[in-house]
Amino acid sequence: MKFVDEFRDMDVARQYFDQIARITTRPWTIMEICGGQTHAIVKNGIDQLLSNNITLLHGPGCPVCVTPVESIDKAIEIASRENVIFCSFGDMLRIPGTSKNLMIVKAEGGDIRVVYSPLDSLKIAKQNPDKEIVFFAIGFETTAPANALTVQRAKLQGLANFSMLTSMVLVPPAIETILASPGCTVDGFLAAGHVCTIMGYKEYENISKTYNVPIVVTGFEPLDILQGIHMTITQLEAGKGEVSNQYSRAVKREGNQTARNLMNEVFSIINRKWRGLGEIPESGLVLSDSFAEFDAEKRFDLKDVEVEESIECIGALILRGEKKPPDCPAFGTRCNPEQPLGATMVSTEGACAAYYQYRKHDSNVLKKPGE
């Protein structure tokens, strides 16, 4: 398939592995930000084929995983109400809240619809004028423009029965939080290509400079990731800490200006709690004052609550890159995708789910080619 197969070419991949091994003189730790990259790495065994002195850590870039329990509980509260049709991405349904998840609410009679695009919830709102339609808007900068467009259209079309429960987050403040943490071992980052398609990478230039850390905007195919790693190590070996763009076929420095303007019009930036990372200043998006009428928390008069996360789940440490899924004593035993203790085991982009799907049986069948 065009534009995909070229980025999965085995011969080119081998050349990258060789070159990376050749230029690496000491151990380096690189964190890929995006959950999609984590899955591509684990699925394709890229971490296993890299030289032993390169460690890949999996970052907080799974939109479902970083959504705090409080947001899930709010979603459950709204979705349980009579007269509400609650629209959500499918992944969110299985994430455990404090006492149950949205799947259970659905089985109890809640009208919960899985949608592929937030705009689908507007169609549902038009078809059901006597119901309150709520869309659960989660995710990073990648999904934010579609959410913004949805609210903007709802306003234009005067859809008074539509509102949005927001739990949207921004990547650069999370990178800064990881870098500022005393336990940080990350030498370089692969930034998420899709996020940067929208936002560009100007914001990363300051971070890179402040912490003298290479940040390479990287795509999602095996060769994208290998080239991203190669570019990161090239910088590290030369003592550089700059932003560079591997994913130039999709990402421009200034990003997608139309999408950014739309986000600026509809959302304001606030402090936001992340699952695993705690509250991060100016890391969340919320509906701005001129769109406040579509804020589901206000419409349903929800109170802020503080919730303790599961004690057994080490998802927080995994999202910070301090642990890997197999380090968890519950991994694959008390915690699995059918009965997850935490979000990282549920989401298709979660690191625990990736390890469970591709590595659960471990070393006896996982080997490097030629062994």
């Binding site: 699925k43 990073f140 298709t348």
Partner: protein, 345 residues
């Protein structure tokens, strides 16, 4: 009896509760739609069931229920599925399908025109698969308590050979062959669902496998195991076989045929075609010296031009499926936990 929809003298537009009530309306429905189209009427002898002559051989018996949403999708409808699904289950036992029963659960208000269309599709597929629909049942549920129409079919087939076609019969070194490119049914159905706003030229692969299996048997292929690739796709079929046989299956990702459009749709949605449903796909396990013959026979059928060897049975006895990817790395192939969901970003 000749199947001719034009003989149907039935002026109801929508199904009423009374059509399942056992009274006059139900008899009208039977006599105007089901009996003429299916060409059978067990009740004309005053019997509640079909009488089947004693068969000379082992029998295979299976049942399946069909609740597909939407009812119509590119390449088929719930009726095609309901016949082919059960016919194929019999074929996968190495049995020649003979008789089907059909049970309809219809929601009050369901369009009679659509019902006729579904029933006609069922009959067409039954003729194609050389199987008779000999008995049935109809129930009507209150509006809002069903999703248009649900169909259950059960089937009886006869096993006219002495082979032991089963996962426990696979041997180290056996070739694993898939008859077609994978994932078309699942993508066709997804493209038709309201929630996925994308269009594709992909049609469901829904088709009968009976003639294919009968032909392989007739031409003397020593089939070790057969498995269709329905829900859960190729991956689930392989994992199931590995678990039952307690043997490791080694698959090459590169060898699995996938149509470009299916590949594209899967890339866009962020799902893996190996887990996507098929309704005409199957895997066949044969000894290495029967591989070429099997492929040749399959490829004589225009539907199976893309048949391919995708892997082999390893001599390791660890009930796992390993898949070697394009980079040459092996990983474990597992069943899915829950449904495959489109990526969020």
């Amino acid at each position: 009896m000749k199947s001719d929809i034009h003989s149907a003298n039935f002026d109801q537009k929508n199904i009423l509760l009374a059509h399942g009530g056992g009274g006059k309306l139900m008899h009208q429905l039977l006599e105007n739609i089901f009996f003429p189209i299916f060409g059978s009427n067990p009740s004309k002898n005053g019997l509640d069931g079909a009488i089947i002559e004693q068969q000379n051989g082992r029998l295979a018996f299976t049942t399946d229920s069909y609740v597909v949403d939407p009812l119509f999708f590119p390449g088929g409808n719930i009726g095609n599925l309901a016949v082919n699904g059960t016919v194929n289950d019999l074929a996968m036992c190495g049995a020649k399908p003979l008789f089907l029963s059909v049970g309809f659960i219809i929601e009050e208000g369901f369009s009679v025109r659509i019902l006729k269309e579904v029933v006609l599709s069922m009959q067409r597929e039954a003729v194609e698969a050389n199987v008779q629909i000999v008995t049935g049942d109809t129930k009507v549920v209150d509006k809002g308590k069903g999703s248009g129409i649900y169909i259950n079919t059960s089937g009886i087939g006869i096993i006219e050979h002495n082979l032991n076609i089963s996962p426990s019969n696979i041997c180290p070194g056996d070739s694993i062959i898939v008859n077609e490119d994978i994932g078309r049914h699942g993508i066709a159905v997804m493209s038709e669902r309201g929630s996925f706003d994308f269009r594709t030229n992909i049609k469901s692969d829904c088709t009968s496998l009976a003639s294919t299996v009968m032909n392989l048997l007739k031409l003397g292929v020593n089939i070790h195991c057969l498995h269709d690739l329905t829900r859960g796709g190729l991956a689930s079929a392989l994992v199931e076989i590995a678990q039952i046989s307690k043997k490791q299956l080694k698959i090459n990702e590169d060898s699995i045929p996938v149509h470009d459009s299916v590949h594209s749709a899967c890339e866009i949605l962020g799902i893996d075609p190996i887990y996507v449903a098929n309704e005409g796909g199957f895997v066949i396990f044969v000894a290495p010296d029967e591989t070429d013959k099997t492929l040749k026979i399959l490829r004589t059928d225009n539907r199976w031009k893309n048949a391919a060897i995708i892997g082999e049975v390893s001599d390791k006895q660890d009930d796992l499926v390993t898949i070697k990817n394009v980079l040459g790395v092996e990983r474990i192939l597992d069943m899915l936990s829950g449904e495959q969901l489109p990526r969020i970003c």
